[in-house]
Amino acid sequence: MSGGNVLEIRKISKHFGAVQALAEVDFMLERGEIHALCGENGAGKSTLMNIVAGILAPSSGEIRLEGLPVHIGSPAEAQRLGIGLVHQEIALCKDATVAENILMAATNARRAPLMNFSELNRTAQKVMNRLAPIPVTRRVGALSISNQQLVEIAKALTLDCRVLIFDEPTAALTEAETQALFCIIRGLKQRGISIIYISHRMAEIFALCDRVTVFRDGRYVSTDRIAEVTPDHVVRRMVGREITQLYPEKLAGEPGAPLLEVERLSDGAQFSDVSFTLRRGEILGLGGLIGAGRTEIALGVCGLAPTTQGSIRVDGQPVAIADYTDAIRAGIVYLSEDRKHSGVFLDLSIAANVSALDLRKLTRNGLVDRRLELTQAITLCTRLGVKMGAIGDPVSSLSGGNQQKVAIAKQLSVKPRVIIMDEPTRGIDVGAKSEIHKLLRELAADGVGIIVISSELPELLGISDRVIVIRGGRIAGEVTGAMTEEAVIRLASGVGGNFADVA
């Protein structure tokens, strides 16, 4: 019966201390299929994949490869067995070049005592170009997070695999890269390679995959042919309830008075001459391709990166923002796109993470009021649906999506006037996503101004009242009214009417 199955996972369980991450889950992967794995944040998807890739050891259960039981004790063994994994969390050597990172596994397996750098660079560039033309002699540490994600993917493509696993590869990618990736994945499938694809984006799953398996709370729920189910169906299985409305209602009337006015802002390198106005009560989207400079603009506004020119007004009053503390004082907060490096404190507790942004609020007589801190953390985490052991556990014990929720909770804890969110729902499941969207809309209704930077076009259009598109560090135009994906893409890529408002 199992003749068609490359990989069979039987009754695998895994617990971390008291937390049961997986409870006797089964999973079958057929040869040459693209198999989607779905589930809410913390459902155990990454944990299972880490077990298959030899990074974690299962508490119990069995893994069969081509019908034979195997023991996968280390990533090296997994690679020997032909199992490759694109990690959800980027794990690259920042001090090494892109080429070295892409071909690290090959380097490790090489017999030759000396490196051949020119060949290494040539080979790596070829692989890289299939995704995006990132020069492979650059140091990985100097790349933006989205480019790092591409390197992480390219790295997996060099492996000689039977089974290739993608754990949320597109969370930080825009449409163009996503499409390039899909082409590659389909090509791999043609070559008989079996693929497991994890994503929270239903559209992707339905465009790419053959079958879908759903996990809930560490348990196996179902497996279906994609052709036989609908997205709503899958979501219901994941969440256990209906998600009626994906995006909240948009702003009904006119937005309020100007709240944040940015005028001719430049940083002398990544962006220049950026002017826009954010009004009270509106959600403004920032669109663009990878590397367009949206992140840099946000950093510049918040004082997290130096600017050379331009002025910022809040409520009509000019404010001098030298560093981020000034920005926070002025009521502007920023959610970083790079969760691991600048979003959360992995070793510190969830509670401590949530309160990091504004300790003053929690301080009584110079001491942190821990009751207040806990109440605040628990309230926000419950609201965002963070799946966790205890509020005192370190953030590193959370799943990727739940870490992102903690980072968002941190932003929301301060009651700011302007929230800038860079890729806010990276890796967040459908249910929580709509919860966050609802929350943002409620904040906006309370008079908060919100800027959302998102590479996921449907989200950008779904949540924003209008979208400003950035190209090459300049404002390429604005999309309002009945916004279409096409309009944004056209502005972002520079095809068609330049600098023209597309209504």
Binding site: G17, L304, D323, Y324, T325, A327, I328, Y334, S336, H341, S342, G343, V344, F345, L346, D347, L348, S349, A351, A352, A356, L357, D358, L359, R360, L362, T363, G366, L367, V368, R370, E373, L374, I378, G389, A390, I391, G392, D393, P394, V395, K410
Partner: protein, 324 residues
């Protein structure tokens, strides 16, 4: 549903408590073994002697632990301890009253810390190389001030000497000062907002910056704090020994850092407790005393000491791994 936090809201919460539990068990086991091996071990005199022997160093350990938590390190503590002695001593010899002299000495030590803080936060060097240079410079200053000869502070008034040598109801002032500082900083580190920022900065500097914490200021002040506490230790040593030797405290830094690391501080920042660090220095001290008490040959003392240290750290590591 959510477990109540143990002792602190910090991630180290329960885990931290466990870490220390491991060390406590090891130290107690050593003490029990020693009580059987030597009749002199479990006497108040001996306990007092052991406490005395590490209580002043313990003050330095406190500062070092905070600095390690923020991700720094200070190789200059030994030199700064000596510097405070020498500055305080020479001020006194120049005619100042000893209390003022000591304040100036502590102030001078804080200045050294400020200098290091400047090079770390403004110039952008790392703590290791900055404090290494400071170690050499400050030691050099001690030589310059003393011209290589120990200052004899024999004429220090008895009420000043009392700090280092006197007792209160049988408990030496030194131990009282030490306990007060340890309890105070342990409390502050767990509870005070200002010290919470130290943890944030040490755990992930970038994320701390992105949370609006002025990490450079935090690092600066922690560097100053560490030197200031070293300076305080220096003036207490001066009161204890009634002397200021220009070679005092050479090599002290490794002992101090080792104590903090044994006690659970991480060299990469973000983790550590005062209580643990104090247990670390207590362990080192108990081992040293025990070897002398057992009259182990001097040639073997170092070796055995090292082996016990290694064993203790391994056991501690093992206990913690099992629990977590």
């Amino acid at each position: 549903m959510v477990a109540p936090p143990v002792r602190t809201g910090l991630s180290l919460g329960r885990f931290g408590a466990m870490r220390e539990a491991g060390l406590i068990v090891i130290i107690l086991a050593l003490c029990v073994a020693m009580s059987f091996a030597s009749p002199h071990f479990a006497t108040w005199g001996n306990v007092r002697a052991m406490l005395m022997s590490f209580s002043i160093e313990g003050i330095v350990v406190v500062g070092m632990t905070v600095l390690l938590i923020v991700g720094g390190i200070d190789l200059a503590v030994g030199s700064v301890v000596c510097f405070a002695m020498v500055v305080g001593g020479s001020m006194f010899l120049m005619g100042l009253d000893p209390w003022t002299a000591c304040l100036i000495a502590i102030g001078a030590s804080a200045l050294v810390g400020a200098g290091m803080g400047f090079f770390v936060t403004v110039v952008g060097l790392n703590h290791f190389i900055t404090s290494l240079a400071a170690m050499v410079i400050v030691r050099g200053l001690c030589l310059v001030i003393t011209k290589g000869t120990p200052l004899s502070l024999f004429t220090l008034p008895p009420e000043f000497k009392a700090i280092g040598q006197g007792e209160f109801n049988g408990v030496p002032y030194v131990i009282i000062i030490f306990v007060v500082i340890v309890v105070l900083f342990d409390f502050l580190l767990r509870r005070a907002t200002a010290f919470r920022k130290v943890f944030y900065t040490g755990s992930n500097e970038k994320a701390a910056e992105y949370s609006g914490i002025r990490t450079r200021q935090v690092k600066f002040w922690v560097t100053v704090l560490c030197s200031t506490l070293a300076g305080l230790a220096g003036v207490i040593y001066m009161s204890r020994f009634g002397a200021a030797t220009p070679t005092f405290g050479v090599g002290m830094e490794l002992n101090i850092i080792a104590a903090a690391v044994i006690g659970g501080a991480s060299l990469t920042g973000g983790a550590g407790t005062i209580f643990g660090a104090i247990l670390g220095i207590a362990l080192l001290s108990v081992v040293t005393s025990s070897l002398i008490l057992l009259d182990v040959s001097v040639y073997w003392q170092d070796m055995i000491k090292g082996c016990i240290l290694l064993a203790a750290v391994s056991i501690d590591h093992f206990l913690n791994r099992r629990k977590s």
